[in-house]
Symmetry: C2
């Protein structure tokens, strides 16, 4: 498969792209109209082992912020999500399924509550700003909505805390999971959250001011030398093993939060959100399919660029939307919606991968063991 | 610059991607979360000359359709655009600037009027569906909104009409510019418009039913053998020379339609659209800058992946957002907003390209001569 990417301004460079290039990036994806580094010199497998043992710096500036402020800000956000945000406190990060009126998933951002009337939604790959703006204009809500010059830099891995405590002070250690605090950097105050798109622990620095991007990368890089730091990116193997879903891969507007295993972030029957009636109906009937892991054999699988049928006998019971070879489990791991009658862990299945192989496998719980 | 693109389901393949790969595609861009072929075996220059003389088939399935139907469909669309759509007739294609309440450009689709209460918006690179859905939900409009399984295939170049008349019948010749008609294909009725993202003439077939993609490509390809057909894509040189703007490159939400030279598609003062007050103020004051061409020297320029300053003396008066070497004009051609005091054609300027050169040039009218 050819893999060239044709650059233009429309595929926006980030405040860290220069540094990623200097560090040898050799592949990108595109998220929110912005470049996301996806490969450096080492293989995905080597990066996987490194991420589990050391620390990496990731350019995740493509996690753009939709800033919503004003008297109706909380009301607008609550309208977009089945999750109850009323008890969130300033300093909290909340993972939010955002739905339309059919309970279809529009995005799954992390909400950062900056003040009672000011929020960031740190978004996955869809223009959530346009949805929020449409709702606000249509309903004449009293809010402001904009994309600020804020570009997250992730520091992920078991040594991230030690690195950042050394660089920015011991108070970083006191920041709880999915909470945020503040650090000083070059005379500016910057938000730092204990969060990130891996299961290995770590932080994300929401850099306010793109002109500081190179300096922040360099500071993390230099302090990281003592911790065997490497440039990295969200690791496909690690995130599949960890059961971390990807908007646009595992879920689209065709999916509802309940079948994606996000029921714990939903309050069926709660007032005041779009999609309530639809989600209540789905909850009452029970979901017809649900996200699962699939373990399958046949040697390392190719990239999953389009869904692969999952079958039991001749019947299609699901489709794999992300997959990778796990060097730890010595099998391929994939993510798939699986029909209700077949979703119990251990259920034998076959997977038709893009290389033409029909591979034997089985349904697994998530995260993978 | 590294140029790998990391594939995943999120970057959707099109009904034609298999054929593009078989035809030797060697680079993609990403538009509307979908792959857009950007390079085949021949150089952009060779493709440029070929496009001007013969005919090409382009996979532009990434021009997704936002279908809007129902009693309030026309009202919703009129609310989003300063262009008067009231006199559009079934069978018309209209280029629409779509704005927010600040008159910032949200997208610039082509509207196809399918019926009095049914439209397609054939979109540029932003999630216009989410904006329309937000507006409709917020204002409780009686509409349906969805992305149908419709994937445009463009046939562009001076021989396009002859090819398509031979393949689908002579009635294709009777379709006017920015009008659409219908063709029969494999027992289905398919929409065909005289339109496309080039100045060389041609058509776009809005294929309804992705399973027919391979067959349609093959039919065009085979009929095209007598016309020296080649696989192609929107050609950077040709579209810049022709003054065709690209959403995300020349314009974003930071730009208004008037400064982008789209005043002929706006009706300042007209009732009933978002951004009217903002656009009226801009029209009354006169725009502070406007889109222009820039001709500049120093040999073929690199790709413009981030804006390049345009200066007069020490003063920045604009920034180039797209640029390419024109083998016909023997100079580089670029597109730039230029401040009012400097926007007359012939104004000497310099352009700081990404390769570190300061290049001498001049402002040009659009399209380039």
């Amino acid at each position: 498969m050819p893999d060239g990417l044709n650059f233009s301004r429309r595929l926006r460079r980030t405040p860290y792209t220069d540094r990623a290039e200097a560090a040898g990036v050799r592949g990108f994806s595109v998220v929110n109209h912005m470049l996301l580094p996806k490969a450096y010199a080492r293989s995905v497998e080597e990066d996987y082992w490194h991420l589990r043992e050391h620390v990496q710096v990731w350019d995740v500036a493509c996690q753009r912020q939709v800033e919503i402020w004003g008297p109706d800000a909380a009301r607008l956000i609550q309208w977009m999500t089945p999750r109850d945000i009323s008890r969130a406190r300033v300093g909290d990060c909340l993972y939010l399924p955002v739905t339309d009126d059919r309970a279809g998933l529009v995005n799954d951002p992390v909400m950062l509550k900056l003040a009672e009337d000011r929020f960031w939604l740190s978004i996955a790959d869809s223009d959530l700003l346009l949805y929020a703006a449409g709702l606000a204009l249509g309903a004449r809500l009293d809010v402001g909505i904009a994309e600020p010059d804020v570009s997250p830099l992730a520091v992920q891995g078991p040594k991230a805390e030690a690195l950042l405590a050394e660089l920015f002070g011991a108070h970083v250690r006191g920041i709880g999971f999915f909470k945020f605090g503040w650090i000083d950097f070059h005379g500016t105050r910057q938000l730092i959250a204990r969060s990130g798109y891996s299961r290995q622990g770590g932080f994300e620095i929401y850099l306010d001011g793109g002109h500081l991007g190179g300096a922040l990368w360099d500071a993390v890089w230099q302090a990281g030398q003592a911790f065997d730091i490497a440039p990295g990116c969200p690791n496909l193997i690690e995130r599949i093993e960890g059961g971390l879903l990807s908007y646009g891969n595992e879920m689209t507007r065709e999916n509802n939060p309940l079948e994606m295993g996000l029921g714990r972030f939903c309050v069926p029957g709660a007032a005041g959100y779009l999609g309530r009636d639809a989600l209540d109906l789905i909850a009452a009937a029970g979901v017809a399919r649900e996200i699962r892991g699939v373990l399958f054999d046949g040697g390392p699988c190719p990239a999953c660029a389009a869904p692969w049928p999952v079958r039991v006998g001749g019947q299609q019971v699901g489709r794999v939307t992300s997959a990778a070879w796990s060097p730890r489990l010595k099998r391929n791991v994939g993510l798939s919606l699986i029909d209700r009658a077949f979703w119990d862990p251990g259920q034998p299945v076959t997977v038709d991968s893009a290389d033409g192989l029909r591979r034997d496998g089985e349904v697994s719980a998530l995260p993978f063991a």
